[in-house]
């Protein structure tokens, strides 16, 4: 039998992809304008929350979610409460802003250390917007614990050991590891639940803790803009140039026309 586990789930606020066409570049500052675009929990982080809740249901313990972002990030933490997590923490401070993956990982790790006594750190394998998949391994490095990415299945075995299935190209690896460990999960791991209506109401009773950089034990040189080795000197709009030529007629006629054009374009195989 396994002991109850303390699980921390890192979740990221991302602009809702249904509104990505509203994102625009400020032509002068080259900064992405995202005002008025609703935020949601990055989809794979919902799989991470779901997995944490299932583990808690199976063997007891506690689920804490942590996020970093501007104050309105509490919206997604309220959603996490509605799903049934026990606690929620928001790292919010100007000092955290402008972070790349390394500085984000440093900040999250400092928050996780303050939560303390953690057995398992879960998060989505990659975020919807940046989709770098870098924060999981880097949080683990800052915490000094092992990690596995691409996790599509978690099995607990005896003595605080677990076996996870990690997705690789055209297959998987089964990896055994101890606790504590960071696991970055994929969408295959489960089907996330949606909050019950009552949950949504009840969630308003609970408020996320908000921590500033002063509240956590972290070297300021490792967070925010200062702690970010990378920066973005330039962002350019991509113009997708497609001909949009409409083909009409009888099927056989369309097929002949199309094949002729594809051959002229040099993309028709063996022709």
């Amino acid at each position: 039998m396994m002991e109850p586990l303390n699980i921390v789930v890192c979740i990221k606020p991302v602009p809702d992809s249904r509104y990505w066409d509203r994102l625009s570049l400020d032509p002068n500052t080259k900064v992405l304008r995202r005002e008025g675009i609703p935020i949601v929990i990055s989809p794979l982080d919902r799989n991470a929350i779901e997995e944490a809740l299932r583990i808690r249901e199976a063997m007891g313990g506690k689920v804490t979610v942590i996020s970093m972002g501007p104050p309105n990030t509490v919206e997604i933490l309220a959603w996490a409460y509605a799903l049934g997590v026990d606690d929620a923490v928001l790292l919010t401070d100007r000092a955290f802003a402008g972070a790349d993956t390394l500085a984000t990982a440093s900040a999250l790790a400092s928050g996780i250390r303050k939560i303390g006594d953690y057995d398992l750190v879960l998060l989505g394998n990659e975020s919807l917007d940046g989709s770098t998949g870098q924060v999981g391994p880097q949080v683990a490095e800052f915490l000094g614990i092992p990690h596995v990415t691409g996790v599509e299945k978690i099995d607990f075995i005896v003595d605080g050991r677990l076996r996870v299935r990690s997705k690789i190209e055209f297959g998987y690896m089964v990896i055994e590891t101890g606790l504590p460990v960071t696991l970055a999960v994929t969408r295959e791991i489960n089907d996330p639940r949606v909050p019950p209506v009552f949950g949504a109401l009840w969630a308003t009773e609970k408020e996320a803790k908000q921590w500033t950089a002063d509240d956590v034990d972290v070297d300021r040189a490792t967070i925010g803009l200062d702690g970010s080795p990378t920066y973005v000197p330039e962002v350019a709009n991509i113009e997708v140039q497609r001909r949009g030529e409409v083909l009409e007629g009888e099927p056989a006629e369309i097929a002949r026309q199309l094949l002729e054009k594809l051959r002229a374009d040099g993309v028709l195989p063996d022709a």
Partner: protein, 331 residues
């Protein structure tokens, strides 16, 4: 920082076979190294992989670092990242490039954190600026914008590049020098154990390498109809791709056939999409195709505007006609 020089490429091997992505990186790495007037090196980790090191020497590198030890037989984050950390601290490359495979995407951020440097992911282009600093081109926000990422004050400057984006270089006459690296870590340093590795070679070419892709969406309607796409793909020597809903319905057998989720992109010469409306994820995934053909009964479907050739018709009429006309053309 000035003591960091040269370009290092991670040459990934699996099961005693070099992956193409490592060679592709050597091609790009050679260009960058030449621009900088510096050295290009590859690093190979594994067990009993000496023959692969020999194979690596003819792809343009000046040097191949070989770390060969039982502890490195199968990829594990701890083992590989510790060896690379030591290598980087000793040889101090200015740039370190890693292929964006499942393993590369696990390894690169781990190494970057260990040596405290910047890493850009999913780079589709690499260059150096006037100061000799790496500039990585990364599509962002669903490919609506292209970000240029720099890492001015930390070394090495790291980037991952997805497989298939860069051209594999020609073999060279000049051979690289192989330098054996002493592996100082043992099983004690590795906190994970690999119990099993399973992988099944796909029957068709992986989508990211396919030159022709026939993709289907929810509009295909049934597993029976899906066969029509497979037949056209067979005829054209291409692979079948699918949207998320078509995978969820089980029409596409392999998860790997899904285009446009999790940054998975394809770049065939020819993409033909049938019964696909074109949600943003899918359109992002196919935007690097040379020619896009969309077949949809709805002239207003988003994919029709993102296509070179838009066919407003039922795919059930068009695809059989295409198969027939293509056969005629070939005979």
């Amino acid at each position: 920082m000035d003591t960091y020089e040269g370009v290092l490429v991670f040459a990934e091997q699996r099961d005693g076979k070099l992956l193409d992505v490592g060679l592709e990186l050597l091609g790009a790495g050679r260009q960058i190294a030449d621009k900088l007037g510096q050295e290009l090196a590859a690093v190979l980790l594994g067990h009993n992989v000496g023959a692969l090191a020999d194979e690596l020497t003819i792809y343009g590198a000046d040097k191949v670092y070989l770390a060969d030890a039982p502890v490195l037989e199968v990829y594990r984050s701890d083992a590989y990242s510790l060896v690379l950390e030591e290598l980087i601290n000793k040889y101090k490359p200015a740039i370190f490039l890693v292929g964006g495979t499942s393993i590369g995407m696990d390894l690169a951020p781990t190494v970057a954190a260990k040596v405290n440097t910047g890493l850009s992911a999913h780079c589709v282009g690499l260059d150096v600026d006037e100061d000799g600093c790496l500039r990585s081109q990364v599509p962002a926000f669903g490919g609506s914008v292209m970000a240029s990422i720099a890492c001015p004050n930390h070394r090495p400057q790291m980037a991952t590049v997805p497989p298939g984006f860069l051209k594999k270089p020609e073999k060279t006459e000049k051979k690289a020098v192989i330098e054996n690296i002493k592996v100082n870590i043992t099983e004690e340093n590795v906190r994970t154990k690999v119990i099993e590795v399973f992988s099944e070679e796909p029957t068709a070419k992986p989508l990211d390498q396919a030159e022709t892709i026939i993709a289907g969406g929810y509009g295909i309607g049934s597993k029976e109809n899906w066969k029509m796409l497979e037949e056209l793909a067979r005829e054209l020597g291409g692979s079948v791709g699918a949207t998320r809903p078509a995978c969820d319905e089980g029409w596409a057998v392999q998860e790997e056939q899904m285009i446009g989720q999790s940054g998975k992109t394809v770049h065939p010469n020819l993409y033909i999409g049938a019964g696909i409306s074109g949600v943003i994820h899918h359109l992002i995934g196919i935007q690097d195709s040379r020619v896009i053909v969309a077949i949809n009964r709805d002239a207003d479907a988003p994919i029709m505007k993102a296509a070179d050739y838009a066919i407003v018709a039922d795919y059930k009429d068009i695809i059989p006609a295409l198969i027939e006309e293509y056969k005629k053309l070939k005979s």
